[in-house]
């Protein structure tokens, strides 16, 4: 980046990189160029460094992705658990969860499939959510499956945000899909994003449904 200073081989007097700088630049890059063009080489270039320098801070590309996921997860809001009523705390968590990934749309597919083993801060997030469910009276054996069900919906919704807004546009095949055309037009006349509307509908249903089946009357 800084072309005024050309580095020759050898240890620089002061470190050029640090882990946080790398993770931040990686998310920014992934977001701007997309997963296809997201490479170690491109990231190095963005940081004004040669590719091998990155391997001093991350073991490999997969470890980089795990670190990126952790940064994204840090902005998930778990402050409601133990303070607000369960349904409000969960709503806050779910919306901020989706927003966190929505801020890095291209990261979703890449990051959602990485295991969380060894990611301490991400584990801490789950611990807080679990405690929130237990405190609200959940039977322990239902906690994980209910969280996973909710999370599946959240991540699927985040995945849906990556899709182009005209994803369902039949184009030349419109004559064969009159129902789809009608539904799309009716939806469009409502205004607002299809993805946002769908998320709102689904989240309300999930929260109400989970509350009911776990003895929390509406």
């Amino acid at each position: 980046m800084d072309l005024s200073e050309i580095r020759r081989a050898g240890r620089p007097r002061k470190s050029v990189l640090d882990r946080e700088k790398i993770l931040g630049a990686a998310l920014e890059l992934l977001n701007s160029v997309g997963p296809e063009k997201f490479s170690m080489a491109a990231l190095a270039g963005e940081l004004g460094v040669k590719p091998p320098a990155l391997y001093h801070y991350v073991k490999n590309k997969q470890a980089l992705l795990v670190g990126m996921r952790e940064v994204v997860s840090d902005s998930i809001d778990i402050s409601g658990f133990g303070v607000l009523p369960w349904s409000e705390a969960v709503g806050l968590w779910a919306r901020s969860y989706r927003d966190a990934f929505a801020a890095h749309p291209n990261a979703i597919a890449l990051l959602a499939t990485e295991p969380i083993a060894g990611a301490a801060r991400t584990l801490a997030m789950y611990e807080c959510v679990v405690q929130g469910f237990l405190a609200a009276g959940w039977e322990p054996n239902r906690v994980m499956s209910d969280i996973v069900a909710l999370e599946s919906f959240i991540l699927g919704s985040a995945l849906d945000m990556v899709a182009p807004d005209d994803m369902f546009d039949p184009g030349a095949d419109a004559p064969q899909t009159p129902g789809l055309v009608e539904a799309l037009a009716a939806q469009a006349s409502l205004g607002g994003s299809r993805a946002d509307t769908a998320f709102g509908v689904g989240l309300d249903i999930m929260i109400d449904g989970l509350a009911l089946t776990n003895g929390l009357g509406a």
Copy 2:
């Protein structure tokens, strides 16, 4: 594959490849080696052919992925719409949808993010689902968002199936996550897959919730 016959350059007397053979082998390969090692070169090798030969049948790797998605989508069951009651038809569709991707776990993240433009058979699937919702009395402007909400949950659940079963295992961080440890143990004592249980719970909630908010009493 067939090492007894070594091909020299030039058009073979009979075509070695066809589109269907390529798509089938591609799904099989993606499933067996994972997305990381899934390459045009590996696919060509599996088909006993050199990489450039593939480009006679698919424009590029992205087009290959779209074709693969279409094959997967073909096994989604839409036969219930117009025959069974709405909630049963949707349940059949949703379960077969998840199963279709579950049969190709490594394909989910790759295929779920591809747009469906130009994929006629996939569009036909959506048309059938839309018609099912309209016939059940849905207001047109609610059809797409409700389908998308449901689909987000289904795809998120499919994505969850890719995660290792011990994804939440805190490992060395167990002392810091007592609630998580308890919930995992309680869940484990129930037997059955966490992913399957979560999907069942969430699907029932989604179907009931959608039915209620659209005037279909339970």
